[in-house]
């Protein structure tokens, strides 16, 4: 088993507050890990540390290049869904064919949205598109921050399927969540209060 993510006694701070103290964890290929903790315990911050978007931590984080879906969806409201996804594919180095884009959206049952400007999507539709992006990026580690937000039951099930499939193919997932997620095998709890 190769570890796609190994965290060794990591301490994360926000200003002078210590959010996470001495956390160690590991996510192996094939593992879908839930990151759990109360509101404000530092889940989002930890995911950003791993992605390289938040630098205030000590300790060691070994990881591969990951795909990250944060609270913000990263979709330009003025571009259509297709344009957004195509651009992301190009950005990551491989321009997706139109059919690949449609396929990825189809996996989230959102293929009708293809030509809609992202500004005109509902919250759940936007989330689906953001998740469809994962399928175009071909990164083995997925970092997901509350991926089920705004998704309906059917959407949640689809995401569960995607996660299971990604892990089955040797990928790994670390997902911060409050809801019970389909498709995950393990949980890591971050201790913490609301503050």
């Amino acid at each position: 088993m190769t570890a796609l993510l190994a965290i060794q006694s990591v301490t994360v701070t926000r200003g002078r507050r210590e959010l996470i103290a001495g956390l160690s964890m590991q996510v192996d290929a094939g593992c879908a890990m839930e990151l759990r903790g109360a509101n404000g315990s530092g889940k989002s911050t930890l995911l950003r540390c791993i992605a390289g978007l938040y630098p205030d931590y000590h300790g060691r984080i070994d990881t591969v290049d990951a795909a990250y879906v944060g609270h913000a969806d990263g979709l330009s409201g003025l571009l259509t869904v297709e344009e957004n996804l195509r651009w992301y594919g190009c950005l990551a180095g491989n321009e997706p064919t139109p059919s690949r884009i449609v396929d990825a959206l189809g996996r989230l049952q959102a293929e009708e949205l293809l030509r809609r400007p992202c500004r005109a999507l509902s919250a759940g539709q936007r989330r689906r598109v953001a998740l469809a992006r994962l399928l175009l990026l071909e990164r083995s580690l997925w970092l997901l921050d509350e991926p089920l937000t705004a998704l309906d039951a059917q959407g949640a099930k689809l995401v569960g399927g995607l996660i299971a499939e990604h892990c089955g193919g040797g990928g790994a997932v670390l997902a911060a969540t409050h809801a019970d997620m389909p498709g995950t095998h393990a949980q890591t709890w971050i201790d913490g209060s609301t503050a």
Binding site: A66, Y68, A72, L75
Partner: protein, 223 residues
């Protein structure tokens, strides 16, 4: 290179999609020029004498405005953090963005400068030097300004701070630019200043993308 092309296409689309956005800088410049023409009426002679300076100041202000919102939307909707994470060739997408900003607030200005110069009562023989100086100088304006914009994107403030930050860099451009136009129009020297402007632009174009990338990283980590 495919990536670069795509970045340019995306930026260009974004620009056109927010339809007037592409024309925003130009519209703004035209408005400013009109206001000045009205405010300074009654004395075309004086206006003429100062037109080059006035024009350059207005170009700088126009660029400040356009630069200020350059990264903002991408920052707010989370595109910027994705860009930093996903970009295969680091600086390339940024260069695409900067190029498009320059096209809208630099190249287009060069194109309409003869018209605007005429409104500002510039002599016909000053119009070519004006376009030339703008062509040589606006890349530096765009590139330097982009660094400031990248540093300030998370800071949620208006353009004033950006102005404060970039002003020291803009003053040489302003001085050389004005001198070049006036010098060339008077038949005196002026090419030296054009060369200086061009040199500044070349320097800025080569170095700014790195600085912008670093600045964006700082901004996103801060956000």
């Amino acid at each position: 290179m495919g990536m670069f092309r795509h970045q340019v296409v995306r930026e260009w689309r974004l620009l056109l999609r927010a339809r007037a956005d592409a024309l925003n800088p130009i519209i703004f410049l035209v408005l400013c020029v009109t206001l000045f023409a009205i405010a300074l009426d009654g004395n075309p002679e004086a206006l003429r004498r100062h037109a080059a300076g006035v024009f350059w100041v207005l170009v700088l202000l126009t660029n400040l405005l356009s630069l200020d919102s350059m990264f903002r939307r991408d920052f707010e909707d989370g595109t910027l953090e994705q860009l930093l994470l996903l970009s295969e060739v680091p600086f390339l997408p940024i260069v695409g963005k900067m190029l498009v900003q320059w096209l809208a607030a630099g190249a287009l200005v060069v194109l309409v400068s003869p018209l605007l110069g005429t409104i500002l009562q510039m002599r016909p023989e000053a119009l070519v030097p004006l376009a030339l100086a703008l062509l040589a100088g606006t890349p530096a304006v765009s590139m330097l300004g982009a660094v400031g914009a990248a540093l300030l994107v998370g800071v949620r403030r208006g353009g004033a701070l950006l102005g404060l930050l970039t002003l020291p860099f803009y003053i040489p451009v302003l001085i050389f630019g004005t001198a070049a136009v006036n010098g060339l129009a008077d038949g005196g020297g002026g090419m030296a200043q054009i060369y200086w402007l061009a040199a500044m632009s070349v320097l800025a174009v080569t170095l700014a993308p790195f600085a912008v990338w670093a600045a964006l990283k700082i901004s996103v980590e801060n956000g």
